[in-house]
Symmetry: C3
């Protein structure tokens, strides 16, 4: 038995939880913020049997990897919006920081 | 030293914390949601000496076990409330998912 | 690799996070409450290499140790405020409860 703690971006958490549920992993969401990832983030706790660690990590990687996204920048306040055509810029989104912890005992009451 | 992480239903958490405090266990509450238990839940962190793991688990079991409860169902909206006598139904409440983690070092500053 | 879980008082968390960031430690903040420390508290998760555990603990100790502070007590409601000169009283603030957990694997996606 292992406890997987995965810190992921808020924008990825619903898709990740759906994918984990589909593969019968049960997750608990902890409200978290800052630090490992720049934007709002969530920490998932996932209790898994030893042989399920790798499949679980694969699902996390598939749904939360760092990737680039084109976003339209906000036009500057007070600028002449009519003459300003915002150019989409590449930003990095996603990413996951994952700790796999040993578990001495697991109970379900 | 072990770290006990207990995910319990919100409705059980005050009674559990009172019982743990009465037996000199100190708890920290993490806001959590979803997953292991269907309703709103809370994750308690409890640091305990090795020989206190079993007594602590017993208190969690005593206060948070799954059990059945009779509840009066909400009468359906728009239904004829006068002629409708809701029959209490059995629902399962409570339950706890508990991880016992090894601790390498503990400090109190 | 270790995972450090530090429960610290809310009033110390910004200074602690600044100090940890300055020394290149990355932290994730979990909303927490009650228990180990009387006032509002926050739990920080910090993933560190084995040789960085002691430096990290030192930063936590430097920024969060229990200490005494003089505070002006609130004057009692309905009392004669004019004739009442509140005497500052010593209160204990700060403090940290820290768990160092072994980590089996660490991933960054
Ligand atoms: Ni699949
Ligand atoms: Ni008792
Ligand atoms: Ni320094």
């Amino acid at each position: 038995m292992k406890l997987i703690l995965a810190v992921v971006q808020d924008k990825d958490v619903t898709r990740l939880q759906d994918a984990l549920t589909e593969h019968d992993f049960k997750t608990t969401k902890l409200a978290s913020s800052g630090g490992f990832l720049k934007e709002g983030n969530t920490t998932l706790m996932i209790g898994v049997d030893d042989e399920e660690v790798d499949p679980c990590l694969e699902i996390i990687q598939d749904n939360c990897s760092k990737r680039e996204q084109m976003v339209a920048p906000i036009s500057p306040m007070g600028g002449n919006a009519d003459s300003y055509i915002p150019k989409p810029v590449k930003v990095e989104v996603g990413g996951a920081t994952v700790f796999v912890l040993p578990v001495e005992a697991f109970h379900h009451f």
